[in-house]
Amino acid sequence: MNDPGMNDPGMNDPGMNDPGMSVRDTTAPFVPRVTAERAAVLSNDLVNSEYRRLVVATGPLAASAAPGQFFQLLCPAAPGNAPFFRRPMSVYGADPARQQVEFLYKVVGAGTKGLADLTTGQTLDIMGPLGHGFTLDPAWMHIVAVGRGAGLATLAPLAQAARQAGIGVTAILSARRPDLVVSDALFRSHGATVLTVTDAEGTSGPAHVEALLRTLIAQDRCGAFFTCGSARLLRVQQRLAQEFGLPGQVALEQQMACGLGMCFCCVRDFNVRGEILHKRVCWDGPVFDLQEALP
């Protein structure tokens, strides 16, 4: 199996991905590693004119979600208007102590419309945590997170995880307008340096972002790239990572049905040492090696 974890010993869930490694004691009691449960909505508020932050109370397994992992949400909707599948949603925050999980989302379709209508006290059927999240190497002094759109939510939990690992973070957050930038306060609250780039200010183009990244590399503040949400910014980072021999990880999106690697609907092409292979975003990812991703 083409396991992204093979190149990356720090990947957080090597067991089930490699059939050869997953033989377990069948006499042992079954312990789930993914939960499907009804989580109580604690809050579901607008954070700006487009994005909402949903906080749900969960059991300990869901609340153990790692940065970059995701949940499959059974989004509520009016009869006749309901999406058939669950909707994948990356974790914006997970708090094992308070047993909470947070999502940051924009209403774009039937699924997220149903989420927006949830009110405190209602429940949401969540399944997770799913997939392989980001991996942090404590040897890195400083990393760079580059995101746009929904990718800003996916990258956000890196801020706390990096701080706990003693790794500094510079976040380059891209949006159409300054008022649509999300996750900036969260990154700052964990001591990250935040640079916002926007279409409105003419600063979000790849040339400008590349200049920012070259400065950070020159300052030794880019031990690794972490990115999500922009194909053109991914390409900039792939080029720079090659040029400077830097590692990186990218979180990818794809239409999903099962979320557990069963249906093979969410495959994408990856370049693995020169060979083009299909991988399942839900099962082999959603976080992949930066250089393997093909936009």
Binding site: M1, M16, P19, G20, S22, V23, R24, T26, F30, P32, R33, V34, T35, A36, L74, G80, P83, F84, F85, R86, M127, Q255, A257, C258, G259, L260, G261, M262, C263, F264, C265, V267, H278, W283
Partner: protein, 315 residues
């Protein structure tokens, strides 16, 4: 306690609930205990390496899903090295789903995977037969009989034959499969369908057409299980839109000995476990000591007097 065991030919299953091929893989073991399932059914394997169909491979429709995944397969050596040892760790009987573009290639594959640890072969003859202008083997009784007879000669393992619902006379196809030596029938596969995106005017699937599954197809496939059960003596495994224990009970009453659950698992990963528990409850509520008491227990009212029938219709 309800006795949940059922017998499919020479195989005794702890309960009648198993996954439908294609909708099941080891990832689900993160959520549910596979040792509780009646059987395990692999994704369809082929001898040839297949990457699958262009994207999008699935689409949502009212009460169901369309898929045209395209049977991605890493071939037999990969199956022997990885998939088979992986599934052997669980106690439930392992059913290996196979497919091939010709009857001869079907038999080669069946022989190659007739190995210890494999409890039965499920021949997915709903795939296109390149020797019959791409029509699925199971669309016609003659091509069904040919491929099943050759498969029967190629393996001593129990042979389950998965039929397609996309045929005019499924009972005739079922009889042909039984006559050629099938030990059981899986009824059925997905229903050929399509959908169009009204924003882009493009087909919703990259493959244009695909298979419909989910609650939308349940009444249709239930009818086909009923028709097949009346036509053959071998056990039938019902498969089509089963989401709940009530759905499973309905299939068993129509004549199914066991059921397969597919699309429901994508929405509720615990669906099969809930159906197993729910069947036990259902039997207890109806005073049935064994789940096998449900098989074909459909009651037919005798309506042989015209005036009675007409009075009923007018009321």
């Amino acid at each position: 306690m309800t006795d949940l065991s059922v017998t499919i030919g020479s195989i005794r299953l702890a309960n009648p609930v198993m996954p439908a091929s294609g909708t099941f893989a080891e990832g689900l073991a993160q959520v549910i205990d596979f040792n509780r399932l009646g059987a395990l059914v692999t994704k369809t394997i082929t001898r040839e390496l297949r990457t699958g169909n262009p994207l999008p491979r699935v689409a949502e429709v009212e009460a169901g899903m369309l898929n045209a995944i395209g049977i991605p397969s890493k071939g037999v050596p990969y199956f022997l090295r990885h998939t088979l040892p992986l599934f052997r760790q669980w106690t439930a009987p392992l059913v290996v789903s196979i497919s091939a573009p010709t009857a001869e290639l079907f038999t080669t594959l069946a022989a190659e995977i007739s190995l210890p640890g494999v409890s039965a072969i499920e021949a997915n003859i709903s795939c296109p037969n390149i020797e019959e202008d791409g029509k699925a083997f199971a669309m016609r009784a003659a091509s069904t009989e040919t491929v099943v007879r050759q498969l029967r000669a190629a393996t001593k393992l129990p042979l389950w034959v998965k039929l397609t619902p996309n045929t005019g006379d499924i009972a005739e196809v079922a009889r042909a499969a039984e006559h050629a030596g099938a030990d059981a029938l899986v009824v059925a596969n997905t229903i050929l369908a399509m959908a169009i995106d009204l924003q882009t005017f493009k087909p919703s699937l990259g493959n244009v057409m695909g298979g419909l599954s989910g609650p939308a197809i349940k009444p249709i496939v239930l009818r086909q299980v009923y028709q097949c059960a009346r036509a053959v003596r071998i056990p039938i495994i019902g498969c089509g839109g089963i989401c709940t224990a009530a759905d499973a009970a309905e299939y068993m009453l129509a004549g199914a000995t066991a059921v397969q659950v597919g699309t429901a698992t994508f929405l509720h990963p615990g669906a099969m476990i809930e159906i197993i528990d729910g069947l036990a409850q259902f039997c207890a509520q109806h005073g049935l000591p064994r789940v096998s008491d449900l098989i074909g227990a459909l009651k037919h009212e005798e309506v042989d007097e015209d005036d009675v029938a007409w009075t009923g219709a007018a009321a």
